[in-house]
Amino acid sequence: MGIKPNLRALAILATAGLALTACGSSNSSGTAADGGSCGHYNIAFLGAETGDAGALGLNMVGGIKVALKEYNDKHADCTVGLKDFDSQGDPDKATSLATQIVNDDSIIGLVGPGFSGESLATGKTFAEAGLPNVSPSATNVTITQQGWTTWHRVIGNDDAQGKADSSYLTGTLGMKKIFVIDDASDYGKGLATVVKDTLGSAVVSTDEIQQKQTDFSATVTKVKGSGADAVFFGGYYPEGGLIVKQLRQAGWTGTFMSGDGSEDPAFVTTAGAQAAEGAILSAPAGPAPADFNAKYKQVNGSNSGLYSSQSYDAANIFLAAIDAGKTSHEDVNSFINSYTADGVSGPIAFDDKGDIKTSTIYAYKVTGGKLDVANPTAIK
């Protein structure tokens, strides 16, 4: 969507005009933010709000809205807005949206992209435009190895999660023969590869399925034939749920473990309560504190979910930057690099690649026919 230059100039003039009038009215109160005149900034969100994984994106938008509500209640004279861009989780759609985002001068930073695939597809665009971003949820290891200086995430990457999952399987659970399955996605394959490499000789065999596949009879035959006592699946719950269901129906009784892509109550719905029982789903995110959940419910009218607290923390970084008077892309970026705080999702500080410095991986269990989201075990 290319806006003609003269139209764009007009749009900028119009926005500036609006901004001037808005600030004019607030001058009387004399409590303008430390950063000087009000700039009417926006935070952008890029991720799936509809589509197969739309529920996750809505969790993120909900978290950002809580942060904005808190900020705007305190700064009624100079509010910050949200511009959300729905990629449906599709890297192709995300690419064109990324161009829109970097061409929007009102956007000071991006919360997102939501998934690893779209992060890899858009990272270059953001890095070249110098637009800083903080992803609440993209965990693929290679994203922060691309040399994009503006790219950050407030969540532990798949390397940390895969290593923790491996030590949980062989150490805590004492498994000897592990069958590793992945779904060929950037995320699933990345996580499964870390697990495979860490487990080494404990991997008895592997298989790769496809997203949207629903019949896994060949994979089930392979798992049973391998004599595995545990299965690790790198992928999302629509496939993960069906795999564990079909394994149980074929009489396999071993331990099923998967990562944060499967850590969703819908995993249990998909598998059925009986088949899902005892499954272990890890995530680089602990349960959000109760007062955050209450605020979330008040703002959004629904319960918070996976990545809500990370998105809240990510949005707060940008809001803190605005408060500190940092509004140019370079200033915001260096502000993020030196940012430290205790967020609702854990302590936040970034290393030189943009990864979060400390992250804890949690193991969630399906017990009593439900995913116990409130009481995970922290994996050491």
């Binding site: 496809q210 009879s217 060949a218 994979t219 035959t221 069906l242 059925g272």
Partner: protein, 333 residues
Amino acid sequence: MHFDFLFQHIFELTITGLALGAIYALVALGYTMVYGILQLINFAHSEVFMFGTFAFAWVFVFIHGTTSASQGLGSTIGLLILALVAAMLTSAAVALLIERVAYRPLLKKDAPKLIALISAIGASFTLSELMGVRDKVAAWFGLEDNLSNYVSNARDIYANPVTINPKGLFTIGDYTVTDVDLVVIGAALAMMLALDIFVRRTRFGRGIRAVAQDPESALLMGVNSTRIIQITFLIGGLMAGAAAALYMLKIGTTRQNAGFILGVKAFTAAVLGGIGNLRGALLGGLLLGVVENWGSAVFGTQWKDVVAFVLLVLILLVRPSGLLGEALGKARA
């Protein structure tokens, strides 16, 4: 390459492949019959299947509720038959709707086949997206709270709350054949047989064959071709509904785009067996299901589609009209 693995588990891989292949075959019938009489690929047929899967799950939610449960095949048989009937009727209704809205107006105007093809693709998107926004549709009528068990999270996985656990019956080689395997394969074969008899022996069947052979002569001989086309869509819909019920019995979850991949596979099965040929659809479906499983075993599951489509290309090279490449109209009475 794991040929040793394939031979060790040949019975298990074959039987589970046949069960999926039987479902492909039932859906393939819809493609093949419509092609037989109209020389037209009904791309919206995958949505006919998808609506059937939802109807099946809704019956369970309506009668059983949303609490997760698992039961054997025997104790749910009444509910299963009810859900099967609902799925068949829903799919048939959707198929008739497609015929009425997306095809008949075009056929009446004698539009080129290509236009009808585009119309079918449009109908496919419309129906799939309609299912994906059913929560918003319900909200227009102010029913989203009353119907929340049926419409909430419209784009996410929708699961039958009752998991049907298969029970082992007897062992072939090292594989214990389950009651679900038998019901899926048996029901699909029975439907095929019934349809074959219908097309070969009944008055309507003769009409279908007549229109397939030569629509204009059939018209001159007093065959109501509009009615015959309607019946063809109806039968295709009924079969897709039955396939949907068997699919839900075996897999148990669906979603708004569940028809797409299955539709592509069923269409492949129809071409493999010879499009326009009923027995070809059966053969193509079963063959495709088994080959996918064997391919998964030998090369890894990520290669299963490659194996299936390489087979399709090879067969079409040797027999361009498919394995049993004989048109619907040439079937002998």
